[in-house]
Amino acid sequence: MPGQAVFYVTIGAMVVIAAATMLTGLYGSKVRSTSDFLVASRTLGSRWNAAAISGEYLSAASFLGIAGLVLKGGVDALWYPVGFTAGYLALLLFVAAPLRRSGVYTLPDFAEARLGSVGLRRVCTIFVIVIGWLYLVPQMQGAGLTLHAVTGEPKWVGAAVVMVIVTLNIYTGWMRSITIVQAFQYWIKLTALAIPVFVLLIHNAGEKPGVRGSLGASALPHFSHAADITLDHDVVLEVAAPMVVNAVGNEDGRFANGTVYWAPGEHRVAKNTRLHFDAGSRTPVIRGAVLDNDKWLRPLGSGSHPLLATYSLIVALLLGTMGLPHVLGRYYTDPDGRAARRTTLLVLSLLGVFYLFPMVSGWLARLYVPELLVNGNTDAALLLLPRAALGGWPGLLLGGLIAAGAFAAFVSAATGLVVSIAGVLSTDVLPSRLRDFRAATAAAWTVPLAFVLAVSSLDLAQGVGLAFAVAASSFCPLLVLGIWWRGLTDVGAAAGILAGGGLAFATVLPAAAGVLPPGWQTLLAQPAVFTVPLAFLTMVVVSKRTTDRIPVDVSRILLRLHAPDRLGLSEDRDLDQMAPRSGMVALPRMRGGRHRR
């Protein structure tokens, strides 16, 4: 298939989706007041809102990352989708309804309304921005990867394209329409993934048994057809059984040009080396991936501290969801706690249906694109799968559909994040609100862009996992204790956020850069299992020592959070009239009697 055709089909599909997104955005852009602008209208209903939450939530990690992880790690990767969905259960049980009743819709607003401290608000602001940036990086990486995989453009081009689309969308669409846009995006993503996976499954079922091999018992993954692979970075490959490979380049520290014998064990292969595998030869796999198919089908077959790392990941995903700035804001669109519950249930169904497809495609990828296990670009699995399995025009068209759907994933997740970051930047960092929202939007991109240009090695799903770890170690304790424990003080909350979130962030950076020794890498690459308890503990201990700083009206505030929904309705009217420095207006009854020491 000519490269030109691949290029045009993919770009065509992307343009169609981008245009549809912008049109949907323009459709609802008649916005008058500030509260419309940031909160979106309440007229859309649970179904729209649930699709919007799902659309925004299904990011690069969900769309490409999980398929890549399933290809590489097998059933272990089930933890990502399970954790991504279970996070909404924790959010629903502990946070959704009380937060909705409080009338605030950003985390800094909540912190200030609950504990009456401007200092704490600043700490929260910093963490909203940090988490948003951490989460933006994999979206931009994913966009770069997608464009690179289909057109060969350098990786920064895809990131730049996403930036432009998202910025235009925010400048023209505002938030009301963004609810519609995000809902629309969910259905685009589901379609773009479901159709190719169904076609591939039918194709696979129709193939002669034995041609592709099966995933059963002791079979090692192997090439069903001859493969030429040029490595775009240094890799360490694990070889299970003796094999012969044709290599041109640098292999195990010496120059190779021709047939090379590989004994079982690890082999270093340098960047730009070309490897040729004959049809039927076994696939060596990149270090960290699971070697044989049997182990691949079993949970926890990989890694050096599998139990700890897996549980740490679960903690991060389960508790991190409630701390994601762009997720919480969406719940404010629901008129009351009852609607918030209904929305959550719908979100879980929508996510559950969606996640079936990346899991299945990870399995298909192990059959059809084993070369990704050699060069380590497992995140590209979904993108390359249709062309490898089907070939010809069907493969081309379905590949284009997946690439365009992936782009939709990056655009919608990035939109929500940039709106959240820009919202916080313009309220708390820049002066004079509406006028500066556009400047804040531009500012929101700077750091992640720099990070994308600097770091390239991280798996998409792992990158997102780090954002979850920081969120779980900072905002989860603040929300849970703030809503359920009257003894929390501003000093305690700030200390807990800085200790837990700060430590998580401090371990995230070296882990992302990949400079840690292997033993530490597993432990620190997913720090939630020790940073979350640390944050809770610090909050409780410091609060106990500063009981004189408990807000005097704590009873009133807690009652407000747990009282029946309809009692909160008056606040919404306040909010409609006033610009959302919302913590200032949304809890009018909480503002009196505040301590100032």
Binding site: V75, R298, R338, G352, L567
Partner: protein, 117 residues
Amino acid sequence: MSTTERVGGVGTPPPVDPWAAAHTSTDFAMLRQRFRGFVFPMTAFFLSWYLLYVVLAAFAPHYMAIKIVGNVNIGLIFGLLQFVSTFAITTVYVQFASRNLDPLSSQICKRVEGGVW
């Protein structure tokens, strides 16, 4: 902690404050009790259910590798059940809240709005 019990700050006459009355009412106490009676055990349940999967996978891999149908083994079924259970718990909670929490809370609402307290 004693100062924190004062509601409404200095100068608000406590007897006419509907919030304080609602807070101390038996209805509100029951609302809280019902909520906690559901949420806390359920949380303990789903956390241990997730932990069970991880622990089994780590310490009983042979059990998890038992094949049921074709290549589908217990571990895989267990993994998929995690999804099902998350969804089931949410469904149960939504029904519980509509049946047991909402009627009570709208009763409290009516009283506050009607000035009963």
